[in-house]
């Protein structure tokens, strides 16, 4: 259960969590500086491969961590799961530039959160829906589940119909921007 071995040089990262970027320096002596504020930090594996113990200025935080590749980490803390992205300074700059050139972000499509059966589609292509409006009913585990629009949007394309079996993560409905009137 040894301490995670750290190098002797400090390293700077940009950590993205729920859409916010944070500046983090990992110091050689066990310190972590988050947005300019220094903490004593210690992280060890307790129950391999994912069980970890974090101590942050003495505060004890048990967590589970999975390596999602390319700087992405999936961390379970307090019963909830969080996705965090860690980039070094160079990677963060590249990402910032490409984000500017891509312009405003599109509205994420509605995906099936679990495998199931489409019971009913509640909207038609071209319709305008409010955030939270029911778009589709999918049956899973013998229960009907209402899937809702992630944001105010125009229904651009409906990819499934009543009676279709859908896989987890399958795109069900694509959205477009609502044009200003």
């Amino acid at each position: 259960m040894g301490e995670a071995s750290m190098s002797t040089r400090p390293s700077r990262y940009v950590v993205s969590l729920r859409g916010e970027d944070h500046d983090v320096v990992v110091e050689a002596d066990g310190g972590v500086v988050i947005d300019g504020r220094r903490r004593e930090a210690s992280l060890v594996v307790t129950s391999p491969p994912i069980g970890h113990s974090l101590l942050l200025d003495g505060a004890s935080v048990p967590l589970m961590a999975r390596d999602g590749g390319r700087g992405r980490w999936e961390i379970d803390l307090g019963g909830c799961s969080f996705s965090v992205e860690v980039l070094d300074e160079r990677q963060a700059k590249v990402r910032a530039l490409s984000a500017i050139s891509a312009g405003r972000t599109a509205i994420a499509p509605l995906k099936a959160p679990m495998p199931g059966l489409v019971v009913r589609v509640e909207v038609e292509e071209g319709a305008v829906v409010d955030a939270g409006e029911t778009v589709m009913i999918v049956e899973a585990m013998k229960m009907e589940n209402e899937l809702r629009a992630p944001a105010a949007a125009r229904v651009a394309r409906i990819q499934v119909g009543a009676g279709d079996a859908v896989a987890k993560g399958q795109v069900l409905v694509e959205f477009g921007e609502v044009e200003a009137e």
Binding site: P48, H52, M64, I75, G79, A140, M141, M143
Partner: protein, 495 residues
């Protein structure tokens, strides 16, 4: 005492029954679907046999296959658990016809209580108060509309064959009746293979209170006090407790007596539960469940009675071990259902592999579960992963203990409702016992995903350290005596 039992179920209840049987020296025989080959209930039984593919209709509901295993394994008795075949009169009959003991009431009792409309008729006849509504099932949208209007809005449409919130719809205006009727029939058919639906007056903000009953083959019937099950989501129970925080000794006595009257009216044998809705100082018969309930452990903790042991004793022909006046009621017990549902995402069911599992322990904590590290959670079966139960001398201590235990529970790879339950334990209305079935609707803030500043900081620090370590290791793999803690552990454990 019985010599052997086949447990015709899976998950936590199969484990519960296997544990109880084993403590009585009864040989335990599990059945499993192909999806459950590596499940804990298979590993805990003395013997285990496959009864078919994942789909329940071809395995856990396949009466012929289950009876074939019972015959080949020379099982003296069959215990149905809850769900699946537990409340099917035909199954109980087939078990007995094949020469086995059915651990539960007679097929005729199951049938009478399983038809919710017939049950309402029988209870009314026995003088037990029932919720106003129809005592027969509805044939059409228009019949449903007429019945709803005569009962008076709001009403609730319910599956006659039902239970567990499936095929249930609340309707507040006459215009909604048609659509709700169709949905209820469809869900009811899918869940129970029977689309019969009836209508009841919908009580606003009622409390769900139920009485645990036990009858033996010598004509004795006792009740083991009440359970309060008002905290629900989608008409499914989420938190249960005993005793109810708002029932006094006199009302406890009256409800217990009414429930025992109901049991005697149907010559009840074995464990059963009468569910009541409690509103405005009155209580109404809702339904009788002719099997063990999911929430039976809270009754076990406040009475000291092992209900599964009693089931086996009664099935062996023994009289009930205690008389009514000998059954104690001591302290307070709470149960939280841990389901594979994402509470901050509309309770969407979640699938995946449990890649870490650390249950809570310590004084006054019980975990009745059906999962292990490595379990695959699919969509074929119920989302109930396990139940966390706590006991303490008073309700306040029990809630504090539950809060502590929920904080210890770690289930990796699967989102569960545990974070919501943890918030409920801190919420003032819950802590003060101000409960109703509308609780979650009235506390929508509990369902908002939020993150504390401390959590945010921990996530940022942990991910930076993890990524930093990963890069350091990639840059200098296996240099020096160190290695990562993980690598080190694996080498020692497997080298």
């Amino acid at each position: 005492m019985l010599e052997s039992v086949l447990v015709a179920n899976r998950g936590e209840i199969a484990l519960r029954v296997i544990r109880g049987a084993r403590e009585l020296g009864i040989r335990t025989i599990a059945v499993f679907s192909e999806a459950d080959r590596g499940s804990p209930h298979v590993m805990h039984a003395d013997e285990a046999y496959c009864v078919g593919p994942a789909r329940a209709s071809e395995s856990y509901l396949a009466v012929d296959r289950i009876l074939d295993v019972a015959r080949r394994s020379r099982a003296q008795a069959v215990h149905p658990g809850y769900g699946f075949l537990a409340e099917r009169g035909d199954f109980a009959e087939a078990v007995v016809d094949a020469g086995h003991v059915f651990v539960g009431p007679a097929a005729s009792t199951i049938r009478a209580m399983g038809d919710k409309t017939e049950a309402r008729q029988r209870m009314a006849a026995a003088g037990v108060p029932v919720v106003p509504g129809t005592n027969t099932s509805l044939g059409s949208r228009s019949e449903a509309r007429r019945a709803a209007e005569s009962v008076g809005f709001p009403v609730v449409l319910k599956a006659a064959a039902g239970g567990g919130g499936k095929g249930m719809r609340v309707v507040r205006t006459v215009d909604e009746v048609g659509g709700a009727f169709d949905a209820a029939v469809r869900e009811s058919e899918a869940a129970f293979g029977d689309g019969s639906v009836y209508v009841e007056r919908y009580l606003e903000r009622p409390r769900h209170i139920e009485i645990q009953l036990f009858g033996d083959t010598h004509g004795n019937v006792v009740h083991l006090f009440e359970r309060e099950c008002s905290i629900q989501r989608r008409h499914q129970k989420l938190v249960e407790e005993a005793p109810s925080p708002l029932i006094g000794p006199e009302e406890r006595r009256r409800m217990g007596a009414a429930a025992a009257r109901a049991a005697r009216a149907v010559d009840y044998v074995g464990a059963g539960t009468v569910e009541f809705l409690h509103a405005g100082g009155e209580f109404f018969f809702l339904e009788m469940n002719t099997r063990l309930q999911v929430e039976h452990p809270v009754t076990e903790l406040v009475t000291g009675v092992d209900l599964v042991e009693w089931q086996f004793r009664v099935a062996s022909g023994e009289p009930l071990p205690l008389r009514q006046e000998e059954i104690p009621l001591r302290g307070h017990a709470l149960e939280c259902r841990i389901t594979s549902e994402s509470p901050f995402d509309g309770f969407l069911p979640v699938t995946g592999i449990v890649d870490e599992f650390v249950p809570p322990h310590g004084a006054g904590v019980r975990w009745d579960g059906g999962i292990a590290r490595g379990s695959e959670i699919g969509l074929h079966y119920d989302p109930l992963l396990g139940k966390l139960i706590t006991w303490a001398p008073d309700r306040r201590g029990t809630v504090q203990r539950m809060k502590r235990a929920l904080g210890e529970l770690r289930i990796g790879g699967i989102a569960t409702c545990a974070p919501l339950l943890s918030r409920i334990m801190d919420e003032p209305d819950f802590r003060e016992g101000r409960l109703s079935t509308a609780y979650l609707t009235e506390h929508p803030d509990l369902l908002d995903a939020a993150m504390s500043a401390a959590e945010r900081e921990a996530l940022i620090a942990a991910s930076a350290l993890l990524e930093h370590r990963r890069r350091e290791e990639r840059a200098a793999p296996r240099i020096g005596g160190g290695g990562t803690p993980l690598g080190d552990w694996q080498r020692r454990a497997h080298g």
